[in-house]
């Protein structure tokens, strides 16, 4: 009987672990995007619900954006980026994080709806209501460009903590050295380039607006955008 109870408890625990709840939704994507859930590739469409530990990978000239379930945080991944999203409930709030292995990611966060962390190979950046850009290079160098609000970065190698405010850029080398300076135009141009690359070659969408001509015949105006 005790063995049976133990087996049941383990089964319940296993089931609860398998019972993943959605933490975000795929808001937009373009080009090559793969979503890995566990060991399998997920078939997805716009709006797809994303679960804890889903891994997103964008290819060349590709883009993906997702929004967390508490509607407070939108994350945009640009070309050739790899990120794993996570979240856990903390009372009525959602504590969120994104683990960036490589690539460029832009985060937009609203205050007061749970914490948000960006994790790179060298750094953990905690955000409390802000907008900033993160880039992780192949060699592990992480760059944080803050356009609004404040980001607190903790360097994993040295446990050093620094606050990066609006208009500041923090660069952490693979060895854990921190460089904090004002944001330069070159830093911004990277962001702009990434945005343009994401949006520039997006497939045009079309709508047709019905109208009546002078003879009362039904015609359509087609608009591409």
């Amino acid at each position: 009987m005790k063995k049976l109870i133990l087996v049941c408890l383990i089964a319940i625990l296993a089931l609860s672990l398998l019972n993943a709840n959605a933490i975000a939704t795929l808001a937009a994507y373009k080009g090559k995007l793969s979503i890995q859930r566990g060991s399998s590739q997920l078939k997805y469409k716009n709006g797809e619900l994303l679960m804890n530990k889903d891994l997103l990978k964008t290819g060349d000239e590709s883009f993906a954006a997702y929004k967390y379930a508490d509607a407070s945080t939108t994350v945009k991944m640009f070309a050739n980026s790899i990120a794993t999203l996570s979240a856990s409930k903390n009372g009525k709030q959602l504590d969120k994080s994104v683990d960036i292995k490589q690539g460029k990611v832009h985060s937009s966060i609203q205050k007061g709806k749970g914490s948000f962390q960006v994790i790179t190979p060298t750094t953990v950046a905690s955000v409390k209501g802000t907008e900033f850009f993160t880039q992780v290079e192949d060699n592990g160098r992480s760059t944080f460009v803050v356009s609004d609000g404040e980001v607190e970065v903790r360097i994993l190698a040295t446990d050093e903590v620094a606050r990066v405010g609006k208009g500041k850029t923090a660069i952490i080398s693979p060895s854990g050295e921190l460089l904090l300076r004002d944001t330069m135009s070159g830093d911004l141009s990277q962001i702009e380039e990434a945005e343009l690359e994401a949006e520039g070659s997006a497939e045009p969408r079309k709508i047709r607006i019905p109208m009546l001509d002078e003879f009362g015949n039904l015609k359509y105006i087609e608009i591409s955008y």
Partner: protein, 801 residues
């Protein structure tokens, strides 16, 4: 908006043109989580009722689904619109009365400006919660895109009863198509329809009703052509098995029966397909057909139906009678053509035994053809020309069945009597044709519809001798521009025409007006029908009569309703009869419904008849009579929600009236032939328990009929109890009911006892199953040899999709 006026009002039934008087008070709205119960009370004319069907549809569907009403108590019928259909924002319904004569009547009347009841959703119940947050923010998309609704309710996910969560998009519940995970919901429509899509969510949070805001998305036409496929319908089955102790004594039908019927509707782009099938074990080749089937195809301007169909060309030609054949409608804005051809009635065919003796008289198969040409717009002025013809097919019957011939006399072949010059018939084949012209003016913006129809008929009571020859025409001194033999395929002209020659007696005409003004729904009809006017394709009113019908329905919001009708029929229009009869019927109903106050209702019926001598004819022995019947029903209803744990709805009613028939000797003296008074009381109570999923129903009726001349009094009383319990969140609802009716007074003391045990189940989505086991017993204390028992097993299964 006026078209949906019934949303705001509880309308009292009124059938100005019908023989059945009924009362139905629609609910103010409906709750999509519960079956919608509808109560219908038959006040008068219930003897001619065969069946009552509830037809319903979810707005904006155009196709009706149907389910039969159940008579819980004498004259009281209950029907249910299943909650699966109530997932939209509005529902429409109507009642169909099938009478013994074959005519179908509708409530509301099918000819009124709003021929159905329209109910809106109770509205989002509870409070609006800001915890529902839409995560995707497209306000405008095209039909090329998927319609997405991604909503987060993370903040209240732990407090929400997920089973209560419902998603509504475009007026329909789409919860079963939504993906819900944790505190997030995703609904996707890959084939959105252009227009405005409104979406919202309802749920229970800690037992309290909450709802989201309404999210609006504009869906514009895209560039890709998509052909959406839609289908809907229902499949139903009903069976009754009876076990009477003595079939000769048992009341009502005791033949086991089984029926299955289906309604299927589908659309693919502009193409629509429909099919209605009805099969019953009561079908017998020697009787009127019970089975029905048809399949229809509808395109933008053309509709074709094969099978059973009741075309409506005009009131006097083809109207409401079933024709099994082919029907086609060509419908354009300014021109419409309707054509129908088939078999109208299949009558009994006699069977010959081994000795050649014919048991029963026979009848012919009847062919029906009808056509209608409409010129003009339906929402405007239109001219309609209609023609129809019914013909008994001589070829459908062996001559020995209709010829009264000596060769077939006494079942043995005899030599033909050479002295017999006149061929006699024991059965006649008829031809009947109607031609009509109908002018209509319809102004929907002004809520006015008026028209006039003039029709003439030709009737040949025996076409078996064939058409006149040229010689015969000369003998009769008749000159016709065409030869009767040339048109014999269309209509047979011979000496059996009734009347012989065209006159006013062949004609019928009517004028009508329907209008809605100043909260009044008014309709006025006047018609005159000649004594020889014959229409086999419609349920034409009395021949040789003039009929006036006036009806009005007045309302003040949803608080006060008053409706009334007056019908006057006078026969002997042509003045050939010695006696003229005059019939009048007055109906009035009123309801007063003030919020939080008792509801008051009243219904008055008066039927009168009188005869009159035709003074233009020679004097004869005439006995004038007068007959009258009137009754008044008054009632009060109140929903006592203040009773803790058991909200109770109480209805009280009292009815009284009298009828008499007297022979009038002069202006002051008369001889009473019969005189009766009746009165009755009814009390009913419905309790809906809150702490238990239990509903009980109790009713008590008593009545008395006094014969004032015979000084006798007959009394009756009835008590009815029903308890219904819900299990597994209303998936199973067993019930038990008991009733006892007793008759006493100046009649045999009799008792009818009924015990019924039943179950209503909703095993899967959109399916409901009803099973009942009923035990009945009849005891006559004065004449016990008439006692009998009966048990009935009933099963009804319905699946909608």
């Amino acid at each position: 908006m006026k078209k949906y006026l019934f949303v705001l009002i509880a309308l009292i039934s009124l059938n100005a043109w019908a023989a059945i008087s009924s009362m139905h008070i629609p609910p103010e709205s409906f709750n999509p989580k519960q079956d919608l119960e509808l109560k219908l009370e038959i006040l008068q004319g219930g003897e001619s009722l065969k069946r009552i069907t509830l037809q319903y549809r979810q707005v904006p569907d155009e196709n009706w689904l149907s389910s039969p009403l159940r008579e819980e108590e004498p004259g009281i019928f209950f029907g249910y619109i299943p909650r699966g259909v109530l997932s939209g924002e509005a529902v429409q319904y109507r009642f169909e009365f099938e009478t013994d004569s074959g005519a179908n009547e509708y409530l509301p009347d099918s000819r009124s400006l709003t021929p159905y009841y329209h109910l809106a959703l109770m509205g989002k119940t509870g409070t609006q919660s800001s915890a529902f947050i839409r995560l995707n923010d497209e306000d405008r998309i095209s039909t090329d895109d998927d319609y997405l609704l991604v909503v987060s309710f993370l903040e209240i996910a732990d407090e929400l009863d997920l089973r209560s969560l419902k998603v509504f998009v475009g007026g329909r519940e789409v919860t079963n198509k939504a993906e819900i995970s944790g505190g997030t919901l995703l609904y996707r429509d890959e084939n959105p329809i252009a227009g405005i899509a409104k979406a919202y969510i309802t749920a229970k949070q800690n037992g309290r009703d909450i709802h989201s805001e309404t999210w609006i998305t504009e869906i514009l036409p895209g560039t890709k052509s998509r052909i959406p496929l839609h289908y809907s319908g229902s499949i139903n089955m009903a069976a009754n098995a009876y076990s009477p102790s003595d079939k000769t004594l048992s009341f009502g039908d005791t033949h086991n029966d089984f029926a299955t019927w289906s309604e299927l509707y589908g659309s693919y782009g502009w193409l629509q397909l429909s099919s209605n099938l009805y099969f019953s074990s009561l079908e017998e080749s020697n009787k009127q057909p019970v089975n029905r089937y048809n399949i229809g195809l509808k395109m933008p301007v053309l509709e074709v139906i094969a099978g059973d169909y009741s075309p409506t060309l005009s009131d006097y030609s083809l109207n409401g009678r079933n024709i099994r054949g082919l029907h086609a409608k060509l419908d354009t804005k300014h021109l419409r053509l309707h054509w129908t051809h088939g078999e109208s009635v299949r009558k009994t065919l006699a069977k010959e035994d081994a000795l050649g003796i014919i048991g029963n008289d026979s009848s012919f198969k009847q062919e029906a053809i009808g056509a209608k040409l409409s010129i003009g717009e339906e929402d405007g002025f239109s001219l309609n020309i209609i023609a129809s013809r019914h013909r008994d097919l001589k070829s459908s019957l062996d001559p020995k069945y209709y010829l009264l011939d000596s060769r077939f006399r006494d079942g043995e072949a005899e030599a033909e009597d050479p002295a017999a010059e006149i061929t006699q018939y024991k059965l006649n084949a008829v031809d009947a044709a109607v031609a009509a012209v109908d002018l209509r003016i319809n102004v929907p913006e002004q809520d006015v519809l008026m028209g006039v129809e003039v029709a003439g008929s030709l009737f040949n009571k025996n076409t078996l001798p064939g058409a006149f020859s040229e010689d015969t025409l000369e003998d009769y001194g008749i000159n016709l521009p065409i030869s009767p033999s040339d048109i014999a395929d269309i209509f047979v002209i011979n000496q059996n025409l009734e009347p012989f020659g065209l006159s006013a007696s062949n004609l019928a005409w009517k004028v009508y007006v329907r209008s809605y003004m100043l909260n009044n729904m008014i309709s006025v009809d006047y018609q005159e029908v000649g004594n020889s006017f014959t229409s086999l394709g419609s349920f034409a009113p009395l021949q040789d009569a003039r009929i006036l019908s006036v009806a009005d329905q007045f309302h003040l919001g949803r608080y006060f309703l008053l409706s009334g009708s007056y019908n006057l029929t006078k026969d002997n229009l042509m003045g050939f009869n010695e006696i003229s009869n005059r019939f009048q019927a007055i109906q009035a109903q009123a309801i007063l419904r003030i919020p939080k106050m008792p509801q008051l209702k009243a219904a008055f019926n008066l039927d009168g008849a009188q005869n009159k001598k035709n003074t233009e004819l020679d004097d004869f022995d005439f006995k004038p009579y007068k007959a009258d019947r009137k009754s008044l029903n008054i009632g009060m209803g109140y929903n006592i929600i203040q009773i803790p744990y058991v909200p109770t709805q109480i209805d009280l009613g009292y009815r009284f009236g009298d009828d008499y028939r007297k022979e009038i000797r002069d202006s002051t003296a008369y001889t009473m032939l019969s005189e009766n008074k009746h009165n009755g009381l009814n009390i009913s109570m419905i309790n809906r328990f809150k702490i238990l999923p239990l509903k009980t129903y109790l009713s008590y009726n008593n009545g008395e009929v006094k014969n004032l001349m015979g000084e006798t009094s007959k009394k009756n009383s009835r008590i009815y109890l029903k308890a219904e319990y819900s299990l597994f969140n209303e998936i199973l609802k067993p019930y038990l009911s008991i009733s006892n009716s007793s008759l006493s007074g100046d009649q045999d003391t009799q008792n009818y006892n009924t015990i019924a045990l039943g179950l209503t189940a909703y095993p899967i989505k959109n399916m409901n199953v009803n099973a009942d086991y009923i035990l009945q017993s009849y005891k006559n204390k004065t004449n016990s040899i008439t006692d009998y028992d009966n048990s009935t097993l009933r099963l009804l299964l319905s699946q909608r999709f």
